[in-house]
Assembly symmetry: C2
Homo-oligomer: 206 residues x 2
Amino acid sequence: MQAGSPILQDGQDSPHIYTILSGWAMRSKTFEDGRRQVLNFALVGDLIGLQSVLFDKMHHTVEALSDARLCVFSRQRLWELYQEHPALGFDITWLAAREEQMLADHLANIGQRSAFVRLAYMIIHLFDRARRAGVVKGKRLAAPITQDQLADAMGLSLVHTNKMLKRLRDAGWVEFKRNEITILDEVKLAEAADYDLGERPARPFI
Amino acid sequence: MQAGSPILQDGQDSPHIYTILSGWAMRSKTFEDGRRQVLNFALVGDLIGLQSVLFDKMHHTVEALSDARLCVFSRQRLWELYQEHPALGFDITWLAAREEQMLADHLANIGQRSAFVRLAYMIIHLFDRARRAGVVKGKRLAAPITQDQLADAMGLSLVHTNKMLKRLRDAGWVEFKRNEITILDEVKLAEAADYDLGERPARPFI
DNA sequence: CGGCTACTTGAACAGAGTCAACTATGGTGG
DNA sequence: CCACCATAGTTGACTCTGTTCAAGTAGCCG
């Protein structure tokens, strides 16, 4: 899958779900007036398109942010999987519930926090997830995310997002570049974002 | 379950999941500083606490808004269910995915729309769900939701929420009272909220 | 009747949006 | 190899939506 190309589109009926084997994707919802909400950024191990299989139709768009390798899984086989391997069916529910939980956190973040803290939270959360997924090198994360996409994820304007990123940079906590996020002071950042860097229970891989 | 009492609490490990048989519940997340994000309002047929079973710990609180009847299901039995009745396991995944989709809509609503439209959307969405669940009588819905809770659901201040409700009332579209929501002009409301009143695929009941 | 809790309304303020102009950066073709 | 163009990022000035503060009113239950 090539960088920038759509994997699943809003309204479309795709008989497949995908697992990301490598690379980045972005789930988003676009309104008629052009406004867009980025639901989240997906990386290695994330499940994509469960909705198209369960509801016969996508309710948001998924696009590749980088070149990505995907593992395809058909609707038909999903059902067989539930019958023949209940443990794997259970794992899929687990992944769906985890996805829901991340959305809930994102919602609380956007609904209740100021722009600055919001951004701090999003960045450290992204970084932490990426680290657990094993794609972080030291303090650096290769993430092909633009400020525009970040702004739409945060429910902020591009301009204001840029200004808050400047504050994070000036504070010496984070560098956010076109293809790379660097966390310079993780403790301070986590503190400001009220983010818990602790353990997480192990996750299944499909 | 009595009105106002907690069903599941953030951080708690409960070995049960619940299905709502009657009444209303509210899922929310509260921060240290007292701010609270209401994730959604749950009604008949909704599944509650899947997270506590899958992750050994709740990441938000669920409380009863009205007196409610719940159907209890243990962690142990959930796993048995997946093994013995794959179709029911599939249904649980379905419900989890639907929950995720509603959160995604909620997120997009809060992230991208103005206070007025946001409220319009939330109210018609709530009403529409309730109608499909069969708890609406004519244009009226008995919903025990306070403006305070509504404000926290919208990511708005109580004061501003109140003012937007006044605008909806003055427009002659909606009456929002302590225990009752009345939709006076559903078409106009749906139009303003850009809400699709069309069909939905059938849903499973556990 | 008193004391809750929920709701209302106005005024002042501030965080975030919009508009506009400008600067980097990177890819492409001459 | 360089010039050009498109996309991405930066910054300042002004506006406005939504917050906060404050001071009420309405309704309900003991």
